[in-house]
């Protein structure tokens, strides 16, 4: 991983392409946004209230879909073009500088099979269409292979005619530094969630106050959750201020960060020429990949290398 001086060097190198190409593209895209969406929203409001009033037909409110659809027809190609430039000229080079092993797929997401392998949401009912995500980052930091993306998983609940959000946030998967065969869950105590595995009572009172642990193997759960790791997990949750649910399965660690975002989506409303804008992306990378250091996953002194 790179340092502050590396960021400064990158920023000096990137300032010119940002100023000459990306910032003008951002301004054009922003102008297009102002031209398309405020009128579309006004038209939509008119359609929603005005059309039923004028026609006397209550289904006239569905005319709201017309300005929205038209807005998307004009907007999506502009946005995709900007997004592509942003990814090529800023996100991908930044990520490569940060760590050459990192790759970025703006439309990618952590595989459904991996998400299910965590068993954090084993009882949830949803289809592939309800499993959505973006901003997939993959790579190997030190000795630890990682995959991270934004995810949004909905349970359709047809009988209630609306979806329930099963998970929305950042999902992090990494190759853990020990081999194990069972499943251990570390869930926020405040969530009230439980799993079918046995309750594990651990020695750290602060950890026990924050989390409830279930595992298929009492000894293996303690092999994984050493006093040092429990402290690191607590520190990570405290510093990040994000509620986390963690699963250990198939010698991997899965961290579900609730209501968090990777924040790798293109920035539109703030100038890219401000160093703090680009620094924000760098900080997000720091946060996502720093989990590996926070949890000391690169210490590989046991049989797993």
């Amino acid at each position: 991983m790179s340092s502050q001086s590396d960021f400064n060097e990158f920023y000096e190198q990137a300032k010119r392409p940002i100023a000459e190409s990306l910032e003008p593209a951002r301004k054009r895209t922003l102008l297009a946004w102002y031209i398309i969406w405020p009128p579309a929203i006004i038209a939509a409001i008119f359609c929603f209230f005005g059309v039923p009033a004028l026609t006397g037909n209550k289904f006239g409110m569905f005319a709201v879909l017309v300005p929205i659809a038209l807005g998307n027809v004009f907007w999506l190609p502009i946005w995709k073009d900007y997004r592509s430039r942003y990814q090529k000229r800023l996100t991908a080079p930044l990520m490569q500088l940060y760590d050459p092993t990192l790759t970025y797929d703006p439309d990618g997401k952590v595989d459904l099979e991996l998400f299910m392998a965590s068993t954090l949401y084993a009882n949830a009912q949803f289809s592939k269409q309800d499993y959505k995500g973006t901003d997939l980052v993959t790579g190997t930091l030190g000795k630890t292979a990682i995959r991270i993306s934004d995810l949004r998983v909905i349970d359709p609940l047809p009988e209630k005619n609306k979806g329930e959000v099963i998970f929305s946030g950042v999902f992090f998967v990494a190759d853990f530094n020990k081999n194990f065969s069972g499943v251990t869950h570390v869930l926020p105590r405040a969530s009230g969630r439980e799993t079918s595995a046995n309750l594990v009572k651990l020695e750290d009172p602060d950890f026990e106050r924050a989390f409830v642990v279930h595992s298929t193997d009492q000894i293996e759960s303690r092999y994984i959750l050493t006093p040092a790791l429990m402290r690191r997990i607590l520190d990570f949750q405290t510093e990040s201020k994000i509620a986390v649910s963690i699963a250990f399965a198939n010698s991997n660690i899965f961290i579900a960060m609730h209501d968090a975002k990777t924040r790798l989506e293109p920035i539109l409303f703030i100038s890219l020429l401000k160093p703090e804008t680009v620094k924000g992306i760098w900080s997000n990378l720091d946060f996502m990949t720093g989990i590996v250091n926070e949890l000391d996953l690169n210490t590989r002194i046991w049989t797993k290398q």
Partner: protein, 189 residues
């Protein structure tokens, strides 16, 4: 009179069932303690299995450490004997802890040994076993804590007193193993 008799019989039956249920609860918790102690044994056996390989590899590179290695081998043989008391097993395993630490510390003097892939693999294996032993001990202490809470808290404490259940000892580091390892003493012994 008849009502009083019937009531007494019913209450006695309820008390009898309650005592049986409480005793069963204590048995379940005591079995959890025994089971977790067996878990420690399983990991200790894995450690015993690694010692001969370690001795063989270290001997190839560190001929001057034969005495240390011989002592470690003897400790292993003693620890594997059947019929040892719990105290003896704890004492011997604490000595094996120190013996292993001494051998691994000694390997610092032999760069070729440290570079040997066999030795590195053994070191990883030992690290893993030590972590598993630590986890087993923690699981044992958790089971003991659960059992002791039941035995000492009302109302199970009444049944425990009547049926002979006593609080169990925790697995604790001895005074010997708590002392910092004196590597020089190890090398000179």
């Amino acid at each position: 009179m008849q009502i009083a008799t019937e009531t007494t019989v019913v209450l006695a039956m309820i008390a009898f069932v309650a005592i049986i249920m409480a005793r069963n609860e204590l048995i379940v918790r005591r079995n959890a303690v025994d089971n977790s102690f067996a878990g420690i044994d399983t990991q200790l056996t894995k450690r015993y299995d690694l010692i001969p390989n370690l001795v063989t590899v270290v001997k190839q590179y560190a001929q001057h450490e034969n005495e240390t290695l011989r002592a470690l081998g003897e400790l292993r043989a003693q620890a594997m004997r059947s019929g040892l008391s719990t105290d003896d097993r704890v004492r011997l395993n604490n000595q094996i802890d120190r013996g292993l630490s001494g051998v691994l510390a000694t390997s610092e003097n032999y760069p070729q040994l440290r570079a040997s892939e066999n030795f590195q693999q053994l070191q990883r294996g030992l690290n893993e076993v030590e972590e598993q032993i630590a986890a087993s001990r923690r699981a044992f202490n958790a089971a003991v804590n659960d059992f002791n809470n039941a035995v000492t808290q009302f109302p199970l404490s009444i049944v425990a007193g009547l049926t002979g259940f006593r609080p169990h000892a925790y697995f604790e580091a001895t005074g010997e193993s708590r002392q910092a390892i004196d590597t020089r003493a190890q090398l000179n012994s």
